[in-house]
Symmetry: none
Subunit: 222 residues, 4 copies
DNA sequence: TATGAATGAGGGTTCATTCAT
DNA sequence: CATGAATGAACCCTCATTCAT
């Protein structure tokens, strides 16, 4: 059980292949043999480099997280822009990452799966993946509402904003069947569509938040 | 191969048990042996009554859908209420179904899984499960915006509204870890919490939709 | 995981084959595939009938123990004989069981292995296999020494007697190489040899025990 | 393939570690990786220095035997003592080696395992390990019985004596469960217990052998 | 109508050994 | 003289399915 060996080419190929297969199939469905085949490695390579399947999975999640932090565009927002502009930029960039294909979406897929059938990796994500993203949005929303970022109202708005983005990620399989013209052959959304959706979500949310600053709460129906 | 025998007791017990297990584990993880045990049936009963595992799954989805249509509270909304009240009622009822436990949530869980790893059942859901729900919301939104229910703008707002509800369903495992006090031991959300969330989502969405009626769209961003 | 099904022929063949293979190879070395082959059963039969390998092993130990109790000749000793005769009979019968081949020796082999690498079965043996045998010898020794069967001195003598029998079982592989003429082609000891050894052990032990009744203990050298 | 390198430090560490692991686990259960880890050597070191696992094992047995001959206390018995004293000394020392822990008992453990599942090493032991020990006892017994050391009667008595010592080695796992108070945390027997057992075995055997000098043989039982 | 028994394909993991450096 | 990397055979176990009754 060798310690971290960045120099091993097989080890890296294994992680890349594993990220792909785990993202496609989830942890349990993913077959070690598949991963090894794609990595052109021996079936025992996973055990040699990572101990077991779960350890490989954890390593992949961690690596994906680190890579994501290195170049996630939604994390780099011009601090001099207006809060409205910041929100628009964030939504557009975040949607872009979610609705494209390739490595940048793998972590998202893994997270979606962790929510349905959690593994040890969910704890890592709760600690390392979610807070930074939420933090950015909380900052923007706080600025818009003139509220501290950890205010409960801010939290509600953050959920509302993120959910509107994530829904298009979650329903991609449905969109593929109901609105195939919106989605490219490589399963990514068209940039124009992304821009359009980002516009809507931003507008909807800006006005939605405006409510928070003014009204108390609804009086109900049945 | 027996003909369809709705009267068979074993067959019914099998479907009830299967609904539960499929909802908990998803199609692939669910074990036929588990289902048969819970149904107090023989291990061969599934193949005898349904041909194979997938067929049982399809039958379960269909049955759940029919039951859901019979008593889904969010489908029965007072036509005389104001559009605002209708929306609030829908959100509260829909959230209630999503965030409680028990049979009423099984179909939701199955849908969530179908989005991640579609099976033949997804086509059924796209055709039979989604349209009625969307139709209700589209009607409300159309009324609010004075737009036809099939307008693209209405569709965007419907997605925004539903997504804000579903996020709390999708992130239940995370909430369980980050805000355990909000969730009961049986994994259901507290009614008061549900009411609170419904209030926020309604307000946020009402104001969000207000934007649609007025402004064109944003320019800008990084 | 069916409950005990004495009617299953495969189940019985599995246990017979397993007893043989476990006795030959020990628990860990024994291969499930070997057992299934000898039993002319499918590789999955063990899992179906016994859950897993260890459970099969435990079932085998228990069955062997029950069979042994049903017909172990050293357990049936004429109560009217003199204590000396009883001892001689026991030693001869016990040696006979140990030094022959076939099913009657399998339990012994399993015990020998449990002593070297204990599994869960050792606890069963300590509770069910050893006490009856020791009890018989303790009775005889107690009678000879006019001491209660649970006296420490009796225990020491019991160990001395049993050890002298067991050594020929333990060193069979060595005898096979050093004194092959004493051992039949089927790896069993010759009856005449067994009788001869029994005579020695009985005499040696009778006089050895005589010491216990008289002398205190040795003083001695370096 | 390197020539014999007694000076290699790795080679020596490998042998020490291997002795320990082989004694604990037996030849087949012992893992090369374990040995290498304990020796702080590379996983390929065994094959490099010894060709393969079995060769390492053979080397270990040989080395252990040589060391044992250098300092086994039961081999060094005062020739001027009485035969009775010699026996007592031998039994006490032999028991001491068997029932303690540490390197001095490793060869014994290896032998015990060889009896159950012989490897090539058993032949070595039959030739080099057993004869010296038996020789010592044969000498003492011969002296006691005024018989030549190679007399069959002497051989029988030697077996009786050695077996009484070895039983406590063989049944250590059982004693650990039934009489844990007799055994130290490091799995060795308490010196007082060893002395006590040695006293019994000596007395029992001295009187047992006395029988040989007098009586013919038993007339039987059932 | 239903079941106990049995099966075979395939899953992850282990481990002694080999190879290139 | 030694090692990190890699390998392949083999092992136990799982599980949907099938078969005979």
């Amino acid at each position: 059980m060798p310690s971290y060996q960045p120099g091993s080419d097989t080890r890296n190929r294994l992680m890349v292949a594993a990220a792909e297969v785990f993202a496609e199939q989830g942890f349990r469905h993913a077959r070690v043999s598949d991963i090894c085949e794609r990595a052109q490695a021996n079936i025992a390579a996973v055990n040699y480099h990572f101990g077991d399947k779960e350890n490989l999975y954890l390593a992949v999640v961690q690596k994906l997280d680190e890579e994501s932090k290195a170049d996630a565009p939604y994390m780099q927002i011009d601090p001099d822009a207006s809060a409205e502009q910041k929100l628009h930029t964030f939504v557009r960039q975040f949607l872009g990452v979610l609705l494209r294909t390739g490595p940048s979406t793998w972590l998202g897929k893994l997270m979606a799966r962790e929510m349905m059938e959690p593994t040890a990796a969910l704890d890592y994500m709760i600690e390392h993946v979610i807070p930074p993203v939420e933090g950015v949005v909380r900052g923007i929303v706080g600025e818009l509402l003139s509220l501290p970022p950890d205010s409960p109202i801010v939290q509600l708005c953050v959920s509302s904003i993120l959910s509107q983005c994530m829904i298009y990620f979650d329903t991609k399989e449905i969109a593929l069947r109901m609105r195939p013209e919106l989605i490219n052959p490589d399963r990514s959304y068209d940039p124009a569509t992304i821009a359009f959706l980002a516009g809507h979500i931003t507008q909807f949310s800006l006005h939605g938040m405006h409510a928070m600053a003014t009204v108390p709460g609804p009086e109900s129906g049945t």
